[in-house]
């Protein structure tokens, strides 16, 4: 596949890295000579110096043959214009990053239709939505949905007092269907077999029907507590979106939002309805104590500064907050943050990349989630007629190591399959796989695919 990326910022760089690792042809358009140097030193991609809104630059980047155009510069308007131009020149799919809330909140029509852009991605909004999902399932460290929301994936931590500890996976209660598709232990991903023994501190990825999930959780003794108060640190775009989503979806929730810039705080207090906006520095221990942050159920740190987020999450956790969610922009330090006791760490770049990837493998792969440090993925793909896997039971298909079919959507029915499940054409499979095996999996399910 041929992909043109405009702008090699954090998201652009990540996408280029991911895609070129998967053997796609990537061309990057970038203006800054420094960024170009970094790209050329580190990635196997073609780099073109210039502006993404210049037609000659787009043409020399091969926009005519491009399967996808990603416009991810820091300028919303440039991204939109580049996508409109790209579409006219023949790019099949266009993706623009647009962050300004005013563009997102247009009520009367969709920006996508107006400008003919296939996907408008807003990293802050994606992050906020993700956090809102986690707040909805406070016991989960991460929440994801597949098959139009019919299948749910939770990342759950095994607390030291969990009755599951020391048990083999095959000995667990299975009166309701579910799948444990992976275990993260000491920051490495294990693909479990029935004989694996669960240990305290394990993070398990639990896949089940969305409608069953609450019961499955109860069956496996994951308690869900009621959330009454959420504290958000940082009134940037992410904080604003999050407060807005929580205001509309959780009517009984008490929301406090800390912002240290007075003008921004005023502005937020007018745009939000119920949330209490407090002007002050979130790292001010006295202020946090005075506002009784310790009694909050969830503390979310989404300022622009990783250090502040980390520090304040620690303070909050120390004050007695039940759960801390922390945004980290730098991926290198993600494992470190988990080690010091922060419950959930989110990286906007990974989330954005995941959302864009959903659009990448158009046709057979529908939805994708990135795990941890980009080492594993959830694929959602359709079994095509005549593919190798058709009419075989799962245990007879030669899956690459570390891959597993977690759930299947047949027609409107969501199924949690076991080894005797037989694949039929047009089944939609939700598959967990390590990054390196994606191609092998794809070959199994597409018409004329070869066993690798």
């Amino acid at each position: 596949m041929k992909v043109v990326i405009i702008g090699a910022g954090k998201v652009g760089y990540s996408m280029a890295q991911l895609l070129s690792a998967e053997n796609h042809d990537v061309t990057i358009i970038e203006q800054s000579p420094q960024r170009i140097k970094i790209l050329e030193d580190n990635l196997d991609v073609q780099v073109i110096a210039g502006s993404g809104s210049s037609t000659s630059v787009l043409e020399s980047a091969g926009i005519h043959q491009a399967d996808m155009l990603l416009a991810v510069t820091q300028y919303d308007e440039l991204n939109m214009v580049a996508c409109m131009l790209g579409k006219k020149y023949g790019a099949k799919t266009t993706v623009a990053r647009v962050r300004n809330p005013e563009y997102i909140e247009i009520k009367d029509f969709s920006l996508n239709e107006l400008m003919d852009i296939d996907l408008i991605i807003n990293p802050e909004h994606v992050t906020a939505r993700e956090i809102a999902e986690i707040i909805k399932y406070p016991e989960a460290l991460n929440v994801n949905y597949y098959a139009n929301g019919k299948i749910q994936l939770l990342e759950l931590e095994l607390k030291p007092d969990s009755p599951l500890i020391g048990k083999e996976i095959k000995s667990l209660d299975t009166s309701l269907p579910y799948n444990i598709i992976s275990i993260v232990r000491n920051h490495t991903i294990l693909v479990p077999s029935g004989n694996d023994v669960l240990k305290a501190g394990d993070h398990i990825h639990l896949l089940a029907r969305t409608s069953d999930m609450k019961s499955v959780e109860r069956m496996l003794h994951f308690s869900s507590q009621k959330i009454e108060q959420v504290v958000i640190l940082g009134g940037g775009r992410t904080g604003y979106y999050l407060a807005k989503i929580l205001e509309t979806n959780h009517l009984a929730l008490k929301i406090k939002l800390f912002e240290k810039d007075i003008e921004l705080a005023r502005n937020l207090s007018q745009r939000l309805n119920r949330a209490l906006v407090i002007h002050g520095d979130g790292s001010d221990y006295n202020l946090l104590e005075e506002e009784n942050v310790g009694s909050a159920d969830i503390f979310v740190a989404v300022t622009n500064d990783d250090k502040i987020n980390l520090l304040c999450s620690l303070i909050a956790s120390n004050l007695g907050v039940k759960k801390t969610i922390c945004q980290m922009r730098r991926t290198e330090t993600l494992p470190l943050a988990e080690k010091i006791g922060i419950d959930t760490i989110l990286n906007p770049r990974l989330l954005t990349a995941g959302a864009i990837l959903k659009y990448m493998r158009v046709g057979d792969v529908i939805s994708v989630t990135l795990f941890g440090e980009e080492r594993a993925e959830m694929l959602e793909l359709v079994a095509q007629p005549g593919a190798i896997a058709i009419d075989k039971t799962l245990k007879d298909i030669h899956f690459p190591r570390g891959s597993m079919v977690g759930a299947v959507l047949r027609g409107d029915e969501a199924i949690i399959p076991d080894g005797s499940f037989k694949v039929k054409p047009y089944d939609r499979l939700i598959i967990f796989t390590l990054l390196k095996s994606i191609h092998k999996i794809e070959q199994l399910f597409k018409t004329g695919g070869r066993q690798i």
Binding site: I262, A265, R266, S269, L276, I278, L287, E290, E291
Partner: protein
């Protein structure tokens, strides 16, 4: 900067409007062969001549400045009241200047406090003038003036703001002159429908017109000694209830509701909601109170009387159907309380206005919340918009000055020998542009017996109330004129 030539030129136009308006009384005196034709004609000619003399001072299309705007409004209202009293003086029906001035100010400010002992003995032409002053004052002579004057420049905005009551104004048009036109049309339509409705329920042409003037302007001057009670007709009372209610509502809302076909704007407006809520709650309390006093038999009368009297006071009209001083204590107290409410901003009524109460109440709750969360940022929401610190401070200050002026007025009246109860109500009724008060100035009484100095003080309160305090106080500030 205030340029005397420009200032007096524009004032001349205002006086001219009043003079021309006087001429409309003449048909009545001619038709009914009354002895006031000559005095009214004299007053009209004198007023028109003075107006023309002043207008000739100023270059025709001179734009006015911010400060001149204030000066025109404040001096305009005083001058207009002086010239407006000429028909009473010349005809001799009100002999002293204090009486004539008081009656005219009460008319133009749509207060409806009167010194006339027996209105039914007055010639129709003079009664017509008395009601017409209310109608002219209701929408505001200044609004008329803006609607008809071509170029006033940016100062016009100031004129407009200074005269239209209320803390926040809805602009229905980007241009002030256009807004003035639209308000005027709303006012005319409201007046026409009120007059037709009153005529339909049995008033004669003259009474229907005069009562329309006083109702739509929320003024309250009547052509009968017993006010609306004279007609003893529930139909008349219901018509007047409806039109008082409408006239006490923001005119811009009527315009949007009817012109743009959005009747829901009323319920989206927080001030209207409070206004309607206060009227509903107070009427219900008075109704229950009256029921207890009279027993169950008169419930429909009691209901109508309660609603009529509460709306009449809340909208600062001051019409009377019942002597409410004979009502039970709670009801009388509620009547006094309602004098401090007033109708909506941008209507013809006076008083403090529900909009200001909303701002003050929200501010109170914000202050309390701030005690709990000292660093919280709490916006003051008013419908769909936000009120900034400047406006809230202005409203709080308004409330303070309002209360101080009322207290000073009360003390002054007691020094003239009035009892405290009458003094308080007279002061409140004049400052709020209500009209009748309680006690000695109650609904079946009159302001006639108050000494001249008291009448001047009350006239001042009426003007201060009508112009919402600031413009009138401003012209007493020496620095306003010096710089």
């Amino acid at each position: 900067l205030i340029r005397p030539a420009v200032l007096f030129g524009k004032l001349g136009w205002l006086i001219l409007i009043v003079g021309v308006a006087m001429l409309t009384c003449l048909p009545w005196s001619l038709a009914y062969d009354e002895d006031v034709t000559v005095p009214i004609l004299e007053a009209a000619i004198l007023t028109i001549l003075c107006g023309m003399l002043l207008t000739s001072l100023s270059p025709r299309n001179e734009q006015i400045t911010y400060k001149e705007g204030f000066a025109i409004v404040s001096l305009g209202w005083i001058l207009v009241s002086i010239f407006g009293s000429l028909p009473y003086l010349f005809s001799g029906y009100l002999g002293s200047f204090a009486d004539a001035f008081f009656e005219t100010v009460s008319g133009f400010t749509t207060t409806g406090a009167s010194v006339v002992m027996d209105v039914e003995s007055w010639p129709r032409a003079l009664l017509f003038w008395r009601s017409l002053t209310q109608w002219l004052g209701g929408i505001g002579i200044i609004v008329l003036f803006i609607a008809f004057m071509a170029s006033l420049g940016t100062g016009a905005k100031q004129l407009f703001k200074a005269e239209l009551p209320g803390p926040v104004s809805d602009n229905i048009s980007p241009r002030i002159r256009d807004t003035a036109h639209k308000l005027l049309i709303t006012y005319l339509l409201l007046s026409t429908s009120c007059a037709l409705a009153l005529y339909a329920v049995g008033m004669d042409c003259f009474d229907a017109l005069c009562n329309t003037f006083a109702t739509v302007a929320t003024g309250g001057f009547s052509t009968k000694n017993t006010s609306i009670g004279y007609y003893a007709s529930p139909a008349v009372e219901w018509v007047i209830i409806i039109f008082m209610l409408l006239s006490g509502t923001t005119f811009a809302l009527h315009f949007i509701a009817f012109k743009k076909g959005k009747p829901l704007v009323y319920w989206k407006n927080p001030e209207f909601k409070l206004y309607a809520g206060i009227i509903g709650a107070a009427s219900l309390l008075v109704f229950l109170d009256l029921q207890q006093q009279t027993g169950n038999t008169l419930w429909s009368d009691n209901l109508r009387n309660a609603i009529f009297q509460i709306i009449s006071i809340v909208t600062t009209t001051g019409y009377i159907t019942q002597d409410y001083t004979l009502w039970p204590h709670l009801s009388t107290a509620l009547i006094l309380l309602m004098m401090f409410v007033g109708g909506c901003s941008g209507s013809t009524s006076g008083g403090i206005k529900p909009g200001r109460y909303i701002i003050l109440l929200r501010r109170t709750s914000i202050e309390l919340k701030k005690m709990l969360h000292p660093k919280a940022v709490l916006p003051l929401r008013f419908g769909e918009r936000f009120i900034n610190e400047d406006v809230t401070a202005n409203v709080a200050q308004f409330f303070f000055i309002y209360m101080v002026l009322m207290a000073l007025g009360t003390v002054y009246l007691t020094s003239l020998g009035l009892d405290i109860f009458s003094s308080i109500s007279a002061s409140a009724a004049c400052l709020g542009n209500v009209g009748p008060g309680l006690g000695l100035v109650g609904p079946v009484q009159n302001y006639f017996f108050i000494p001249d100095s008291g009448k001047y003080v009350l006239s001042f309160l009426m003007l201060v109330g009508r112009l919402e305090i600031y413009p009138l106080l401003l012209i007493f500030l020496p620095t306003f004129w010096r710089e």
